[in-house]
């Protein structure tokens, strides 16, 4: 018994224990969020269904003629992608805040910034990637030529990275507010405008068969800026909301 207690005593000093690196902890959070999402598939399908419905409504409401739809396709695709991404944002941190998981992250001795970055990465994998894969299909229905599809896929994939990162700040800021959807939209939509402009421009150039590298690079720059700052800002906002 004495040996057990002595061993236990030594093991209680966390400084003597092998540490989990910030990256390994973040990877575990990512794996957990992906597993949870696949067990609650309805939340996965919602943004995709919304995107499909919005992009289908335009041909029905305006005209089925591809010559009419093609010029408006970039705007339709990007407005629908932006609103679909926004739809899933409210849930990004909410459940974790309600069940005490965020508190545990805040006091686990690991970087909250890394853990929230992992959660945002999971959000992008679950909403951004499916939207990027679906966007070329919707583009074809709106009259985009086959040659434009890689450009559309790349622009939506990069743009949704930026949208998820910007959205994570809004989701963290509105954590303590009930029915925060409207406020979240008001906070994040103005910040999303550059993504919408460059994303729609890249899509338009791809549809017209022109070089779309520059707007794509600008989207990448916004994504990198977001990657650098958004998790820090989200972590600070979560800490304030937990207080």
């Amino acid at each position: 018994m004495r040996t057990t207690v002595a061993a236990e005593l030594a093991s209680r000093d966390a400084r003597a224990q092998p540490a989990v690196t910030a990256f390994a902890a973040a990877r575990l959070v990512l794996a957990r969020d992906l597993k949870l999402a696949f067990r609650k598939r309805s939340q996965l399908v919602q943004p995709l269904a919304f995107f499909a419905i919005v992009t289908t409504l335009f041909p029905l409401g305006i005209s089925p003629a591809l010559s009419v739809l093609r010029p408006i396709a970039p705007g339709v695709l990007w407005a629908a992608a932006l609103l679909s991404a926004l739809l899933a944002l409210e849930l990004l941190f909410r459940e974790d805040a309600q069940d005490g998981t965020l508190e545990q992250y805040a006091v686990c001795g690991r970087s909250l910034t890394w853990l929230l970055a992992a959660k945002t990465a999971a959000h992008w994998l679950l909403t951004g990637v499916p939207l990027a894969l679906m966007a070329p299909l919707a583009a074809v229905a709106l009259g985009a030529p086959g040659a434009a599809l890689p450009g559309i896929l790349a622009s939506v994939a990069l743009g949704t990275v930026a949208l998820s990162l910007i959205g994570s700040i809004g989701a963290a800021l509105t954590l303590g507010i009930r029915r925060s959807g409207a406020l979240l939209s008001l906070l994040t939509l103005p910040l999303d405008i550059p993504v919408l402009i460059f994303g729609a421009r890249a899509t338009e150039l791809a549809i017209n068969g022109e070089a779309y590298g520059v707007p794509l690079q600008l989207l990448g720059a916004i994504a990198i800026l977001g990657l650098t700052l958004a998790p820090l800002a989200a972590a600070a906002a979560v800490r304030i909301n937990l207080e």
């Binding site: 989990v20 949870l36 805040a106 006091v107 686990c108 001795g109």
Partner: protein, 210 residues
């Protein structure tokens, strides 16, 4: 080996106009448990959250092993386990999966350790069931398994016996006993008497409502 020691000095904290913590002082040393008592709204949870660094006191300081916790909050957090009102478990995952993801963020976990912890709280029978199908008491037991897995010197517990039957309440007492015998420190907000075997290691701090 460090002699662990948690100390609060003249801690003041306001919530809006409400002066919740009014110059609270306490000290808990290795092998001791301080039970926070007081009526609803007296600030027990607030004091626990302040002690673990989640809430910022407007005046006064909390120190751990002689050092203000704010000087290196990450290092302090690595030394503590905080269990709030709600067990931090995901409804769609099993108790076993929850422990793997919850504790795995803090330290590497072997499968055997999880099984041992689940066995310690009597959770073997239902460890594979989704948490949403468990009773409130079973969820609390799963959270207690997580607590034992953290292997940290400081336990901050908010109503650890809530929803537990008599055996469960004895289990909480036994776990705190083991923790204290191993040189740990515990600060627990509890309305009910904590069933510790060695009463001399238990002290009480009563907080009053303003």
């Amino acid at each position: 080996m460090t002699d662990f020691d948690l100390k609060g000095e003249n801690v003041h904290l306001w919530r809006g106009d409400h002066h919740v913590l009014r110059g609270v002082r306490f000290q808990v040393r290795a092998g001791e448990c301080l039970q926070l008592t007081g009526a609803n709204g007296s600030g027990k949870t607030t004091l626990l959250r302040t002690a673990c660094g989640l809430a910022y006191p407007e005046a006064g300081e909390i120190s751990w092993c002689g050092q203000n916790i704010r000087q290196d909050l990450h290092a302090f957090h690595a030394q503590l386990a905080y269990l709030g009102h709600e067990p931090p478990l995901k409804a769609e995952l099993s108790a076993r999966e929850n422990l793997r993801y919850w504790i795995g963020v803090r330290r590497p976990l072997a499968r055997d350790e999880i099984e041992q912890a689940l066995g310690r709280v009597g959770a073997e029978q239902w460890a594979e069931r989704p948490v949403r199908t468990l009773s409130a008491g079973q969820k609390r037991r799963a959270a207690l398994a997580g607590l034992t897995l953290m292997r940290v010197p400081l336990w901050l517990l908010d109503e650890p016996t809530t929803n537990l039957d008599t055996d469960g309440q004895k289990l909480v007492g036994a776990l705190i006993d083991e923790h204290l015998k191993a040189g740990g420190v515990a600060l627990a907000a509890a309305h009910h008497e904590l069933a510790l075997s060695e009463v001399q290691s238990l002290r009480r701090l009563e907080l009053a409502v303003e």
